[in-house]
């Protein structure tokens, strides 16, 4: 950001020449610059993925085929999922980690500064491969973001591009995680014991371990698809002795921890915001840490609940049902702790707090439907219907995305030294919240009534709710333009200058730094008591 750039003068004499302009961003090894790159990249991909979502919602506005051929519709749903997961949500959280982790633990920068640069610059390469796959013969992959074999072995060259993109983005995530773990374990300021770390840092430490554990599994799964496609192997081809269901086991062994990778840092952000605006310390700090760790551990033993309809033995169904239901316990603990933090506080509702409260409310609804889906017999009825689409958008949009918005409004004044437009921020929240529910709430009903997901056309009985969803989706999409406007306005310096502490109830090392913080965050480590 410009303001951070202005601080270049501060103490960089010893580091010699800095590039300026575009080269500054390409060669930067500064955690704040790289954080900014991650965040702008994620925002761009968020709009690309959002555009695909609006294109598919347009087709679903009414029954019949109006705009797209079914095969292109499948490309839209697939690429919407891949781009949002790997291009928008995951990089956005890494962007927050880059900006915040060194500031919150009292470090000067990330541990591996040059690898940090490399792990970011891999992402645009992956993104270009993904987007370019629309333009190869046969178009982008249309096998769903889960790229189940053997459907994915049938696809055209678009599938290969997606596989390479996943490899590259996975490598980027692994490098980012190694960096985050090393930074957190080695570069904390004196006195910053593990159990004193801000919860955002804790959640990212655990998330980074999850990433290192499962991204190689995904890489393995997509590599097997690749060799099945081109090199004569038969991992997923029954005729050659393989098993199509094997792909699902491997994929979801990655895929379930992946959904926690996308939500745990969000829990961390909300756990920073709520105490600030309740003006009261976080309730049950240590139980929050243990709950996060429990969720992460449980995430490795629940994967097959995505596959209750493949026909596994009753014992397996029972095991995965019980394990899945157990996750409700630590997740419940988190929600209770947030509410206990608000309880008897002195609450104000600036935009970050609105998003945090919105998060708790709407994410919990996604948690409730998760409990419904955990019940195997009910899941067998609802699997691959719009009920599932509603469920995971409640946890991913109202969960991860709202946490990201809240975090942006919360820390943006610290990053740029100026306040954003509070009125517009509130508009952004309320419109997002209302249109989100208009879009996704009706999907519970269509799913219950029997509308399968990933279909371009449907029976008339689903027409009303689909029309409402599409209207909501366009409203939600337009509301995000407010967010861009608020960002641009704030970054161009329209807002008031803010103090170091920014928020009255803020607590933590980042609020002891000037706003915006100096180019090298903490040159002498602060002492944490």
């Amino acid at each position: 950001m410009e303001a951070a750039h202005a601080h270049n003068g501060h103490g960089h004499g010893a580091h010699g020449h800095h590039y300026s302009g575009l080269m500054r961003w390409i060669t930067t090894t500064n955690h704040k610059d790289i954080g900014t790159l991650y965040l702008f990249f994620a925002l761009t991909m968020f709009f690309v993925g959002g555009l695909l979502a609006l294109m598919l919602r347009a087709e679903l506005f009414e029954p019949g085929l109006q705009f797209w051929r079914p095969e292109f519709f499948n490309q839209l749903t697939t690429m919407h999922g891949l781009i949002m997961v790997f291009g928008a949500i995951m990089p956005a959280f890494v962007g927050f980690a880059n900006w915040q982790v060194p500031m919150m633990i009292g470090a000067p920068d990330m541990a591996f500064a040059r690898m940090n640069n490399w792990s970011f610059w891999l992402l645009p390469v992956g993104a270009i491969l993904l987007v370019a796959s629309f333009f190869v013969p046969g178009g982008a992959t249309a096998a769903g973001w889960t790229i189940y074999a053997p459907l994915s072995t049938q696809m055209g060259p678009g599938m290969d591009l997606a596989i390479f993109a996943l490899h590259i983005m996975g490598a980027s995530s692994i490098m980012g995680s190694i960096n985050i773990i090393t930074t957190i374990l080695n570069m904390r300021a004196p006195g910053m014991a593990l159990m004193k770390m801000p919860l955002f840092v804790w959640t990212w430490l655990i998330t980074a371990y999850l990433l290192i554990a499962v991204m190689p599994v995904l890489a393995g799964a997509v590599t097997m698809v690749l060799t099945d496609r081109h090199f004569g192997t038969n991992f997923f081809n029954a005729a050659g002795g393989g098993d199509p269901v094997l792909f699902q086991h491997v994929f979801w062994f990655f895929g379930h921890p992946e959904v926690y990778i996308m939500i745990l840092p969000g829990f961390g952000i909300v756990s920073q915001i709520v105490p600030t605006f309740a003006r009261k310390p976080l309730f049950g700090y240590s139980s929050m840490v243990y709950a996060t760790a429990s969720i992460a551990i449980l995430s490795f033993i629940v994967w097959a609940h995505h596959m209750f309809t493949v026909g596994m033995p009753a014992v397996a169904q029972l095991f995965f049902m019980y394990a899945t239901m157990l996750i409700a316990v630590p997740t419940g603990v988190k929600v209770f702790n947030w509410i206990a933090t608000m309880w008897k506080g002195s609450l104000t509702f600036e935009t970050p707090m609105l998003f945090a409260c919105g998060f708790i409310f709407v994410f919990s609804m996604g948690g409730f439907t998760g409990l419904v889906l955990a019940i195997t017999p009910v899941d067998i009825q609802l699997q691959d219907t719009y009920y599932v689409v509603a469920h995971f958008h409640y946890v991913l949009v109202a969960g991860s995305l709202f946490a990201l918005f809240g975090g942006t409004y919360y820390w943006l004044p610290k990053w740029i030294g100026r306040m954003y437009d509070e009125t517009l921020g509130k508009w952004h929240f309320w419109l997002s919240m209302i249109f989100f529910n208009i879009t996704f709430f009706p999907m519970h009903f269509t799913g219950l009534a029997g509308l399968p997901r990933r279909v371009p056309d449907y029976n008339m009985q689903f027409a009303d709710f689909n029309m409402i969803s599409t209207i909501g989706a366009f409203g939600f999409g337009l509301a995000q333009l407010i967010f861009v406007y608020v960002l641009v306005k704030a970054i161009r310096g329209a807002g008031e200058k803010v103090s170091d502490k920014v928020w009255e109830g803020a607590d933590g090392l980042e609020w002891t730094l000037p706003s915006p913080p100096p180019y090298h965050t903490f040159e002498t480590p602060p002492l944490v008591k």
């Binding site: 079914p70 499948n74 013969p137 049950g284 008897k344 017999p377 269509t446 219950l448 709710f465």
Partner: protein, 374 residues
């Protein structure tokens, strides 16, 4: 004034009259089998539990938001730990979960018990239709979407069962345990009939099974539930449940039909007869990929019109239709159609060789196909 009041009353009355129909759109479909009813009741039970939790948790949150605001003059207290409370709200959810898991466990066990079935039907998923084989009765047929193309393209109004209607429904007797064995020919599909409470993935190269016992006669509709490519949304499932007596007569009728359609009797076919028959076979088996225009889908499915194979020697084309196309040791989307009769294969090949830009003028006789099968 009065008329306005009357009108809104009429609207409200119409709405209430429609309420039972609306309930269908808000909730699981009305259950028509034991398992479906157990699933329905489980869902209702869990809905009430989560509504209860919702009220308690968000009641507390709303209370805090309203009463503990700074603008209402509330001063923050500084407590941040209470081990008793933490233990309580970890333990209570455990008991709630056990209450939910108990009935679910019973249902899972009965869902898995496929023993003692009186009718066994194999459902095979194809891109993009279902094939059914009644294993004891020896009846086999395909079930294709019967919604006309014009309705999908919006040229004519859509019917009541738009996209959930087929040419040949699965017919089963009411009150009898029916075991469904699923498998697939190409990619994973999923056989799903919501009202009967069954959904079972059909996996190429593997068989899986599930069962239902329909309470009463009726027509129950479902769809493929696993993304299986381009026409995933266009391969519905229709189960017609009839009385055991009607089922028995349906079976004998089908057996007669099967006998009539039995292998080639050496009958001679003219080019036009084969073309007419072939057009129907094409519409049922080929059109999804190769398209009505015979132009295929560029990059995905090759064109037949002007194709070297279709206009070349007929033996080459017969081989492709009988054996499918294998590339690098792997089956492609062009699967084997050897399950079709000699006449049908001869007819569809003749049709493709004398349609669109293809003007070979050749007839492929059923005997040619028979010879190639050896």
């Amino acid at each position: 004034m009065i008329s306005k009041g009357l009108r809104s009353f009429a609207v409200a009355a119409a709405w209430f009259a429609a309420a039972p129909a609306l309930a269908n759109q808000y909730n699981l479909q009305e259950p028509q089998s034991i398992i479906a009813r157990e699933i329905y009741d489980l869902h209702t039970l869990i809905m009430w539990i989560i509504v209860g939790i919702f009220v308690v948790v968000f009641g507390a949150m709303t209370y805090a938001i309203v009463m503990h605001r700074k603008s209402a003059g509330h001063k923050a207290e500084q407590f941040h730990e209470n081990t008793t409370v933490e233990i309580v709200w970890t333990i209570i959810p455990f008991f709630i979960l056990i209450g939910m898991a108990w009935p679910a466990t019973r249902t899972i066990i009965s869902m898995k018990d496929t023993s003692g079935a009186e009718v066994t039907i194999k459902a095979t998923g194809y891109q993009w239709k279902w094939g059914y084989d009644y294993l004891q009765e020896g009846i086999s047929f395909y079930s294709n979407l019967s919604t006309p193309r014009e309705q999908i393209e919006g040229k004519v109004p859509k019917g009541e069962n738009y996209l959930i209607e087929v040419d040949n429904p699965v017919v089963v007797p009411a009150g009898k345990k029916v075991r469904i064995i699923t498998t697939a020919n190409d990619v994973i599909h999923s056989w799903w009939v919501p009202a009967l409470g069954i959904k079972q993935d059909s996996i190429p190269g593997f068989v899986r099974d599930t069962w239902f016992k329909a309470d009463k006669p009726g027509i129950y509709r479902g769809q493929c539930a696993e993304l299986c490519g381009k026409d995933h949304g266009f391969m519905p499932i229709v189960v017609e449940v009839v009385t055991p007596e009607r089922y028995a007569s349906w079976v004998s009728e089908q057996k007669k039909k099967m006998a009539a359609a039995a292998p080639d009797s050496g009958e001679q076919w003219t080019l036009d007869e084969l073309k007419a028959r072939g057009e129907k076979i094409y519409a049922g088996n080929c059109v999804a990929c190769h398209q009505p225009t015979g132009m295929g889908v560029p990059g995905a499915f090759p064109a037949l019109s002007g194709s070297k194979i279709v206009t070349g020697p007929k033996d080459g084309q017969i081989k492709v239709v009988l054996n499918g196309v294998v590339k690098d040791g792997k089956p492609t989307a062009m699967v084997s159609f050897k399950h079709l009769s000699d006449v049908d294969i001869a007819a569809v090949i003749t049709y493709t060789r004398n349609n669109w830009a293809n003007k070979t003028g050749e007839t492929v006789a059923p005997a040619d196909v028979k010879a190639a099968r050896k």
